[in-house]
Amino acid sequence: MKRVVLAALLGAALAAQAETPEQILASYEAQARTRAPGFAGFSATRGQQFFSARHGSEWSCASCHGAPPTGQGKHAKTGKAIAALAPAAGSERFTDPAKTEKWFKRNCNDVLSRACTAQEKGDVLAYLLRSAR
């Protein structure tokens, strides 16, 4: 019993630690595998299309994060500068799973009026990881 608690605590401590974008991508892959039976991997090309599509509404991801997302973005409403989204741009992007999830939730709601699936998040992250400076 004690060992289980210890392992759980260790797991929680590790979960709070910084991760790499690749680790976050792997966790989306694990999610996509369990939720979508026909999952056939992530596609950066599909991610790119998803990122710049407006999905029947006013904004795309690129409206604020720019295309390509390796440079500084600009908030579509306030015009404020947004640090580059692609991890290759040297930012701390996609190193905190909780922050990643929180902002996917907020921004997917703004662009698609719904939450994104693990497949969509993985595709976008694959595209961002492919986007070199």
């Binding site: 409403k77 306030t78 922050k99």
Partner: protein, 226 residues
């Protein structure tokens, strides 16, 4: 006991304007579409809190901190009287409510400061989390406050919501404040109206309203994806 003036006009205006700006900021928090409104409401909220801190020093009798920030013994006695079913009647804030005011002002200050820092890219993700935690704690306290107002209104058979609108409560004539402080109240209302209309017209400095800057200096490449 008769109907006497207890809450001066600036205190009442502050109360309802703070409630409105907090509610508005809460409702515009989740979407980037409302980010500009959220920020303007945040500044309004911060300005109101700054006013209240000042008014707590120079306002009329029941608006002053010295009249409602009591020691732990007074708070304990009041809470005991609540449990006993015959609550002490206080003309101004009761001792527990007084501390709720202090806590609301402290959480409001933390919310506004952390929001300002987040919006200006200071303090990073931690500041963003602090902003949400402080606002969430403030909302929880607001709900406790509303429940306490309903409960006290029933226990004392006195409509406290109405009292915060008209300024009048039941009391003895010597307990009344003398003047409603029309001038300070009008000045507060005018300042809020002036700030909001300047924001609406996009006439605020860049630190408040980045969009004004963006529109002046921007090159908007016309892109179908945007």
């Amino acid at each position: 006991m008769q109907r006497i003036l207890v809450w001066d006009l600036p205190t009442r205006l502050f109360h309802w304007l703070l409630a409105a700006s907090f509610a508005g900021a809460w409702l515009t928090a989740e979407s980037e579409r409302w980010r500009d409104v959220h920020v303007v409401l945040g500044y309004t909220f911060a300005g109101l809190i700054a006013f209240r801190l000042l008014w707590g020093l120079v306002g009329s009798r029941y608006a002053r901190f010295s009249s409602f920030v009591k020691g732990p013994a007074a708070v304990a006695a009041y809470l005991r009287s609540l449990l006993g079913g015959s609550p002490e009647h206080h003309v101004g804030h009761n001792p527990a409510g007084g501390w709720a005011v202090v806590a609301l002002l402290a959480l409001g200050t933390a919310t506004a400061l952390s929001g300002f820092m987040t919006y200006n890219d200071l303090g990073g993700h931690f500041m963003e989390e602090l902003h949400e935690a402080a606002a969430g704690a403030m909302l929880a306290l607001v709900l406790v406050h509303i429940a306490a107002v309903v409960l006290s209104s029933l226990l004392h058979r006195e409509n406290l919501v109405l009292a915060m609108i008209t300024g009048h409560k039941r009391g003895l004539l010597p307990q009344a404040i003398r003047r409603p402080r029309w001038i300070a109240g009008t000045a507060l209302a005018a300042a809020v109206v002036a700030f909001l209309s300047a924001a609406y017209q996009g006439a605020l400095p860049d630190v408040v309203q980045a969009s004004a800057h963006a529109e002046r200096s921007a090159h908007h490449p016309h892109d179908d994806d945007d």
